[in-house]
Each structure stands twice: as C-alpha cells, then as structure tokens.
C-alpha cells in the first residue's frame, strides 16, 4: 500500500524529470544534471550516515571517479558515457575497498578526520602532478552514447537522461540494500556494535561494505559530474567539496533514497540563485538555509516529501 504508493510516486517523479528535459532550457538541464550526479555522492553518504558514520573525505572518491574518466578518455580515447561512468565508479569502489580495511576500524569524528586526511593527501598528489595540469586540471572529452555522438542541446539532454537512468538504478539498488540484512543493520550498528558482534556479525565487515558502496556511488557521481562539466581539477578532492556533500546530506536527510536527489537539486538551485541575486553574500544565504533546516527540519527535506512513513524509515530497517 504505502509501498506501492511510494513506488508510483517515485516513478511518476522520474518520468516527469525525464520529460522535463524536452521543454527546459539548457542551463536548467545542465544544472539538474550536475545536481543529480552529486546526488549519487550524497546517496553514498546516506548509506554511511545511517550507520552513524559521516565522511568528511567523500571528495576522495568523487575526485578519483572524475579523474579516472578524464584520464581513460585521454589515454584510450574511450568516449562512451556509460562505460566511463562505470569505470569511474569501479575505480573509486576499488580504492574504497582498499582504504576500507583501514577506515572500517574508525568511528565518529575519528572516522571523519581520517577520511578527510586521505582526501587531502590525494589533493596534494594531484597538485604536485604538473603533467596533469596541477590545480588547473584538464579537460574531459565530450561523451558519446552507445555510438551516438550528439552536440549542444542534444548532448545535454542525452547526458541528463543517462544520469537520470543511473540515478534511478542506483536508487533502486540502494533501496534494496537498505532492506537487506547488511543494510538494515545500519541502525543496530549505530546503536550497539557490541551486541551486533555478539550476535555473530562482524561490525567492521558491515561498515566495510558500506564504505565500498558509498565509494562506488561517489566515484560514479564524480565521473558523471566530470562528463557534465567537461573539466576536472584537484579541487574536486579538497575538503570543502566534501563539506558541500555533507551539507546536502543534512538537507536531504537520511530517511530514504529519493531525498538525496531532491536535496541536491534544491541545493544547486539555491546556490545558483544566491550567486545571481547576491554575488557577494551568497555564503550567508547558504549558511542560513542550512541552519534553518537543521533547526526546524531535523530529518531533512526528505521529511517533507515522505512525511507519513519517514520516521519509521529512519528508525526501522
């Protein structure tokens, strides 16, 4: 019932978003494209957040995904957007799997700080590599779609649809994950790790899995963002980037998967709006919005979209 309702609503939302591309002007489409790409990263943060973990270093995977795409495109001439996105996500996922053996042992603020340190080390490395343009970064090839190589508006729309599709799939999979044992144990983990261990489940392994998932999503988001922006630079791995993602996560709320994208879209719109209206005071507006949201919408935007079932979602696996 409620479930069917939500599925219907979500698919309606998706369809609307897809059709909108045919009428909206280019700048809105590209804004949405980037917003949804970032939404994937936020989704990854939500996976962690449900287990009480917040990463201030998610930019690490974002940046790796982006650079993977840029470099593969540069070296191999591979241009297919989907393949590139998968490569981006895959490489970030691998890195996440690697550092996971380390990070999975950490909790709370220490987890946050260590992930921050890792992303900043990557930043340092990229700044040092002058062959990759150091802080100037370098450009990303224009993507093709299964052999179809559009330009201008067509390219925008094609990429937008690809991002939508990937987001939809990701949302479905993550939703399924939340209903699996590993995913549902997020709250038990946050509540009482010792009990989880004494029920025979390895807490660090659970968290490791979550890290890999969030890494995959982060990389995928970075890859798509790189394709949408057409340029990568080390700032993608700077801590302020991670901060922005955590910011959006708070706006969205950890309730379920859809808010991740709505929140991200809302954030991008507000930022762009603030840039246009108060070129010198946009930070103040962003800050106030964040503050108000935390004060009066502690469950995030999600709680508006899915009020009825939200708390249960947050609480119940």
């Amino acid at each position: 019932m409620a479930k069917q309702g939500r599925i219907a609503a979500s698919s309606a939302l998706l369809a609307a978003a897809a059709v909108a591309a045919l009428v909206l002007p280019g700048w809105m489409i590209s804004l949405a494209t980037i917003a949804f790409a970032n939404g994937l990263v936020v989704l990854g943060l939500i996976v962690l957040w449900r287990a009480g973990l917040v990463s201030f270093g998610q930019a690490l995977y974002y940046c790796i995904g982006a650079y993977a795409v840029a470099l593969v495109g540069r070296w191999t001439g591979m241009t297919d957007a989907l393949v590139l996105a998968l490569i981006g996500g895959g490489s970030a996922g691998l890195v996440a799997f690697g550092v996971g053996f380390l990070l999975a042992r950490y909790r709370e603020i220490f987890f946050a700080m260590l992930s921050l340190a890792l992303s900043m080390i990557l930043y340092g490395l990229l700044v040092k590599t002058e062959s990759l343009g150091s802080t100037d970064g370098f450009s990303v090839i224009a993507p093709t779609f299964f052999g179809y190589a559009p330009h201008q508006q067509a390219l925008l729309v094609a990429l937008y649809w690809l991002v939508l599709a990937i987001c939809a799939v990701a949302a479905l999979l993550v939703g399924a994950y939340f209903r699996s044992v590993g995913g549902a144990l997020a709250i038990p983990l946050r509540d009482n790790e010792i009990r989880v261990e004494f029920l025979g489940m390895s807490a660090s392994r659970l968290i490791h899995t979550k890290l890999v998932i969030s890494g995959l999503l982060g990389g995928m988001g970075g890859a798509l963002a790189a394709l949408a922006v057409g340029h990568v630079d080390p700032n993608m791995s700077y801590w302020t980037t991670s901060g922005e993602f955590v910011f959006i996560t708070i706006l969205a709320g950890a309730g379920s998967v859809v808010p991740a994208f709505v929140g991200s879209l809302a954030f991008e719109s507000v930022r762009s709006f603030a840039f246009a209206m108060l070129p010198q005071l946009w930070q103040m507006l962003l800050g106030s919005v964040l503050l108000l949201t935390i004060l009066f919408l502690p469950q995030g935007l999600g709680s508006l979209i899915m009020r009825p079932r939200w708390r249960r979602d947050a609480e119940a696996p």
Partner: protein, 440 residues
C-alpha cells in the same frame, strides 16, 4: 515544541519549494524583466568577489569594468573609443562571483549565456576556470574574453573560435623577468625561487628557470621552494633562504601571500641579502608602500600601472579610476579595461547598421585586432589571432620619501616579439628550444 517544530518545518518546507522555484524558474524571468530593449548590449562580468583572490584581482578587475563601462556609456572614453557604449547601444553589465568549484563556475557561465542571454562574457582570474570555461564557450558559441588568467594552454591545446584573451599570457612575465634581471645584475651567480604550490606558481617558476637556462646557463639554481597556497606562515622558508648563497629570489607570489612574505622577510632582513624579483609585485606596491624593499625588481604582468607607457589615455584612465576608488589602478584593472576596449572595437567593427552583430561576426572582427589602450598597444598576434601580445616592462622599485609614494625607476621595455613565442609555437617548447626567433 514538537508542534511548533513541525509547523516551522512546514513553513521552511514551503520556503524550500519556493526557493527551488525561485532559483530555477524566476531568475530567468527577472533576467528578462531586467533586460531592456534590444538596444542595449549585455555583458557578463565574472571575477572573484569573495575569497582570498578578491582583493588583489577580482575587485580591481570589477572596478575597472565598472568605471570603464560607465565611461563608455557616457561616451567619455578618448577617441577612437568615444562612441557611446558598444557601437551606440548602452552596455549593461551583470557581475558574478568566480568563487567555487569548476562545476559551479561552468554552471554559472552557462547561466549567463543561456539564462541571462548576455552578448559576451568578460572575466576569469583563475587559469583553471579559464580552461574549464573554454570548451563550453566554444560549444555555446558564446563570445568570451579572458582578462587576467595567465596560462598559455588555452590557445595551445587547440584553436578556438569564440574565446579571446587581449592580455598577454604569463610566459612573457617570466621571460622578461629573466632578461631584466640579467641586464641589471650581470654579477648574479645563483638564484632561488619561492612560488605558490599550484599551477600558477609552478608554471611561473618553470618559465623563469627555463629562460635563465637559455640566457645564462652558468647561473645556478639554489633553493626551490613551493609553499602551500595561502600558507600565511613562511618562517621556515625565510630561514632556508637566509642560509642560501644566491643573490636573487624569484617569486610569482601575489597580494595576500606576497605581502605576508614581504612582512616576514623584512622582519628578518632577508632583502638585505638577496634581491627580490616579483613578477606581479606591482599589484601590491600601493599597500606595501615603504615596506616593499627598495631595489626589488617589479613586474606588472605587462605594461600596466606605473609601468604603463605615459600616454594621454593612460593618464585619463588613472585619473577616473583613482578619483572613484581613491587608489591607483593595478594591473587587473588595466587588463579588464584593455579587454573591454578590445571587445568594443571588435563589436563596432562587426556592427552593420542597427542590427546586433552575431557572435560569429564579432569574433571574425576580433581576430588579430590591434589597438592602443591605457597599457599601450596590443596585438592579437598569436593563438590564431585570439591571444594578445604586447611589449612588457620591468623596473626597479623605490619608495619616494619626499612624494611619499611608490615609484618604479630605470624601467626597461621589452618588445612583444622579444618575450613572446612566435605564432604557432607553444610557450614551453619555445623556451626549451632556446627562445628562437626572439627579436629584442
């Protein structure tokens, strides 16, 4: 509390929905509302309005634009630029902050072009942003003039059609620095460098060291320091340099970092031991005043500010600028002025009758253009007629106690062909291969 909370939640919620709509929907509407009859020309002007790069580059750039556009709309700019606005139609400017990730910058560029439908975009300080914007500008066929960013890569990676840069690129700053240094200090045997650890610093050092290698192979490099951007604390660097034997220190530091470094080295008398050659020094002299060590070798990223040729036009520009902002214009202001003048000229060349020229027409007219501005004459000679070159100048700094104001003495001018690569050769290779074909 709970009720209140949820009530406010509701309110905030509606606020959110509203804002999202605002952000996505009404802004263009407002843009339309704001945009007056087709008579006027809309320019998007992008530079740092917040963050550390605002005060050295962004703000002077914006001021330069404000004052220049005002003068243009009033038809007060000296001939041949005395036509009102752009070819008779009023200029209307929209100022945007350059701060943020490449994604933000690109998004905002797109917003300017597609949402606010500006006729041209002038701006960008960060080379990274210039590189990020270029492909999009090309794709959108949006006329774009970069005013301050220095990287030569923009026109070296591939030929561009809609992107222009009137201001010469950074290579010339460091080549000229090397030439001036060797002209003024024949006795130099070794030099060190302190540059910010990011593209700008790394490129500047590479060019300077390369040029020195070509011009004076015997002179050795001692210390090569790359402190983090905006590090703020240079104690260790200063000590390292104090223990160095080299007589010269090359730096491409600017404003914040340059000032911080100068204060800290002054406190430890480093400048008594080695001469500082600051490629962007000019931008800081008006704040550093007597703190900038006398005898430092100063560049202004081209013939700008005190290094600009003394001309009617230059005096006019300095006057209107100083009168408004009661501080003399620094090079970003000059670069912005020059960019605007170049665009105005091209626009007027392209304009036939009353119809707005298309960006293709303006681009065609812009190509290879040549004109005289506050910082002397510039010619879009390289990058297939999209990249300006001009003579440049270096000088020696001195603080004039009597007049109580900074001055730059024994200025040396280097013709464009002497410090810029010839058309079709990229800067790095040109330097590596011994700066062939340099006409000095």
């Amino acid at each position: 509390m709970l009720n209140r909370g949820s009530a406010l939640g509701g309110v905030l919620g509606s606020f959110w929905v509203l804002v999202s709509w605002f952000g996505v929907a009404t802004t263009p509407a407002q843009a339309q509302k704001a945009s007056p009859p087709a008579a006027s020309v809309k320019l998007g002007i992008v530079s740092f309005l917040t963050g550390p790069a605002a005060s050295p580059f962004g703000i002077p750039g914006r001021n330069g634009a404000e004052i220049m556009i005002e003068a243009m709309n009033g038809g007060k700019v000296p001939a041949p630029f005395n036509k009102v606005g752009f070819g008779g139609s009023n200029i209307e400017a929209k100022y945007i902050d350059e701060t943020g990730s490449a994604a933000n910058v690109v998004t905002e560029f797109r917003n300017l072009v597609q949402r606010d439908q500006v006729d041209a975009v002038i701006g960008y300080v960060s080379s990274g942003n210039c590189l990020a914007v270029t492909p999009l500008a090309e794709e959108l066929k949006a006329l774009t003039v970069f005013y301050d960013c220095g990287t030569p890569r923009i026109f070296e990676e591939k030929p561009r059609s809609y992107v222009f840069r009137v201001s010469p690129h950074a290579t010339m700053d460091n080549v000229a620095a090397a030439r001036y240094l060797l002209a003024k200090k024949q006795d130099v045997t070794s030099y060190s460098g302190i540059n910010q650890n990011y593209a700008w610093g790394q490129d500047s050092w590479r060019d300077f060291a390369g040029a020195m290698q070509v011009l004076a192979p015997k002179v050795t490099v001692d210390k090569t320091l790359f402190p983090k951007l905006f590090a703020g604390e240079y104690g260790a660097e200063v000590s390292t340099l104090l223990t160095s034997k080299s007589q010269v220190l090359h730096t491409s530091f600017y404003d914040g970092d340059l000032e911080a470094f100068i204060y800290q080295e002054q406190a430890r008398a480093l400048d008594k031991r080695m001469t500082i050659i600051a490629t962007t020094g000019e931008a800081a002299i008006w704040r550093l005043r007597d703190k900038m060590p006398n005898g430092s070798l100063i560049g202004a990223r081209g013939p700008n500010g005190p290094l600009a040729p003394d001309s009617e036009f230059n005096r006019w520009f300095q006057k209107i600028y100083s009168d408004r902002y009661n501080i003399p214009p620094t090079y970003p202001a000059y670069q912005m002025a020059m960019s605007l003048l170049g665009l105005k000229l091209a626009y007027e060349k392209a304009k036939k009758g009353d119809a707005k020229p298309t960006s293709d027409e303006v681009a065609a007219a812009f190509k290879g253009i040549e004109f005289e501005g506050p910082s002397g004459s510039v010619k879009l000679a390289i990058g297939d007629g999209h990249q300006g070159i001009s003579e440049t100048a270096y000088g020696t700094y001195r603080f004039n106690k009597e007049k109580n104001e900074p001055e730059i003495v024994d200025v040396m001018r280097f013709p464009a062909e002497c410090v810029n690569p010839p058309a079709g050769i990229n800067a790095d290779d040109w330097i590596k291969e011994g700066m062939k074909g340099a006409k000095c």
